[in-house]
Symmetry: C4
Subunit: 234 residues, 4 copies
């Protein structure tokens, strides 16, 4: 049976709408959810801008990115990003790929992207940058080897930049994913501004660990999710 | 009797809505009012994003941050900020804690945040920065000692930055608080831009004192409040 | 007879709304029109944020800033700016005073504000900066001597900055005023960005003269006014 | 017969609305389409801000910029831009002229505007800058010689900057034009930000060629167009 579990579908549609509303995704970019009914599959919209996604647009793909069920129209060109992360990271249940403007400068220069505020601690320490140069001269991630290389750069982290392209963000659930994706962009913007003023004090490793746990606790995560839902529904 | 005075409740809800609308608060941050009926208590929403706050969400807390009345759901994790300021500063009747992006660079570098325009004079002179490093590795203000340390850094001023976190703004009433919180953010943004152009001329101490008095006079304060109310209600 | 001519009232209300909508004015700032029925008087709203101004809020002031007719509530604190310009500049029939953020950096540093695009040529050459320091430690323009000093700095130009405060913009009619006020802000923002990239080529004096004439010609001025009206009415 | 083909008219109106909605065009700027029924003519709105254009405002011009049919009101002052490009570039079927703020810094400094992301590859390599200085001291393009000079600078490319003025963008169809015009602006903004952080890695020539082909393929182009249409219609 290939029907998509309604709660998962609803959450995924909301994540699409929220990430578009909060300027993480625009015409491009996508977000997926590991199928709660089968960890060997994931849910993602057909090739469609996130702001326009409805439950009827969702597809079920296997971990090689092949469509098993759902909308029969074309998939995104880069489902290999999601498939590779789900293969390599059993702890990950939600993935976002974005091109948000504030992260691009960190993907094309040697300036590291690191958290400077407690709410951005959720992105982890230094965010690594993956360079597709040897694998894909169109910079897209279309194949399993490309996806695997990106997933290796991601390692055990929450986010990786993609040189001249964007980033991938991962999390244990869709609410955490939404928070991390939004905070990665905000931190990039604030760090860029801070670097213009002088030497920057980053969070320490301990501050990252403790603040991240506090921000991802239900009290703050539920508050943020409720806020973002109110903005797409309001 | 624990009922909240309706005018105070209405003002506090408006301040929440205004500060969200004007991009001072987002998913996080909070604003409170000393209870006009009892200076040993203050009013603040339950843990909820400011844009969503209604009168039904308000709580009455004592100056140790314990809930005395109102909505029974969880309080914000950082009510200790408000409680400590109300304990230490009898002149303060309204407090805001925010994470607004333009102030962050001044909290993670050594560049001082000082007013450069007459409308920003209300933030006072150099805005001090408090560093939670020794007291709270998650950077949150959860305890009375943390709150007291922050309140000591605030001193007799209108605002203090919190390293890698945000700021606290205080005032004698909710309208002045709203103005100061909005102008602190605007001044941070304008000062960052000015510093890119060359040596900056700041307001003198006398200009700060005189401009601040002029901006906080009823003619301008009422005009600004009326404008902001029209934007949340319009 | 002190009734305000309806077309003038309508234009002035629109200019208030447009300049608020286009982020030139916010809670503060004001715009006025010389009375078409009597060059010794001018029309301006009572102390009210420009976004909220209606025809019922207008006042008629003489060139000393005294109220002759119209709404009886308090006038803006700085009507002396308008009065002084109308006294000194018979060619001027519309005046705007704003605090728009992008112009502030040019008012607190020594970097000159000069036009870099043909649509900004309307602001003229170097925009002078007036410093109130010796005349008003609250930085406001409340008296005739303060207004006269500002008007002398303005000279025969279209705009002058006010140190740590904002600017004054003047024009021969309300449509040109609106265009110049909007373009001054846009040019400040674009020039700030350009200065980060390297040495900037400014418009030549001849380019300023010719482009300004082209942009203020009816074909472009009517198009721009129609566009801005559609945005406040849409 | 001078009736405008309805699909072309509809597409052109949408392109006007989209480019206004996405902040490429404001009060000024214009977009045109080569007439699908006659390559010796092009369709463009009468002098009107793009956000306000409807099918009834369209005109049919010949390749000298003379009106052959459609709305009888004044044409834009700079139809010579479009005419010259259509004369010189038979491959071009859509042209946009804009003044978008983020591109201006690259037009008044020596910093080259080159793509740094795969979605911006569609602008091609270095975007040349045309300087009208010897031909038009009002910086406008009003004559055939001015238009020809600009078209020569454009060469076989997709975009050229105009010093102190704006840019011209061209494409083989209206959807590609819309995408390129939007991405040119986004790339300018992201490149400006990147240059503040350090040495920038640009796309290689091969990456530009391959990424451009991928982004202009129907899967991504249709998705982007559908998204932008939903934003002007939503």
């Amino acid at each position: 049976m290939t029907d998509i579990e309604p709660t998962a579908a609803h959450d995924l549609v909301l994540a699409n709408r929220i990430l578009a509303r909060e300027d993480v995704l625009d015409a491009f970019g996508h977000v997926s959810l590991r199928d709660p009914a089968d960890p060997g599959r994931f849910l993602i919209a057909r090739s469609l801008s996130p702001a326009q996604v409805t439950a009827a647009d969702l597809q079920v793909l296997d971990l090689d990115g092949r469509r098993l069920a759902g909308d029969e129209r074309a998939s995104y060109a880069e489902v290999a990003i999601h498939a590779a992360v789900y293969r390599r990271r059993p702890d990950v249940r939600a993935v976002c790929h974005s091109h948000a403007a504030p992260i691009i400068p960190f993907s094309v220069t040697r300036t590291p992207l690191r958290p400077i505020t407690h709410v951005a601690a959720v992105v982890g320490g230094d965010v690594p940058t993956w360079d597709s140069a040897d694998l894909g001269p169109d910079l897209l991630v279309r194949t399993a080897p490309q996806g695997d290389a990106l997933a290796r750069t991601l390692g055990t982290g929450a986010a990786a930049l993609m040189r001249g392209h964007g980033c991938v963000v991962v999390a244990a659930d869709v609410r955490a994913l939404t928070l991390i994706a939004i905070r990665l962009v905000a931190n990039a913007e604030q760090l860029s501004a801070s670097l213009q003023l002088g030497k920057v004090r980053y969070l320490s490793a301990e501050e990252i660990a403790r603040s991240s746990a506090a921000i991802l606790a239900p009290l703050s995560l539920d508050r943020a999710w409720g806020y973002w839902v109110s903005r797409v529904e309001g």
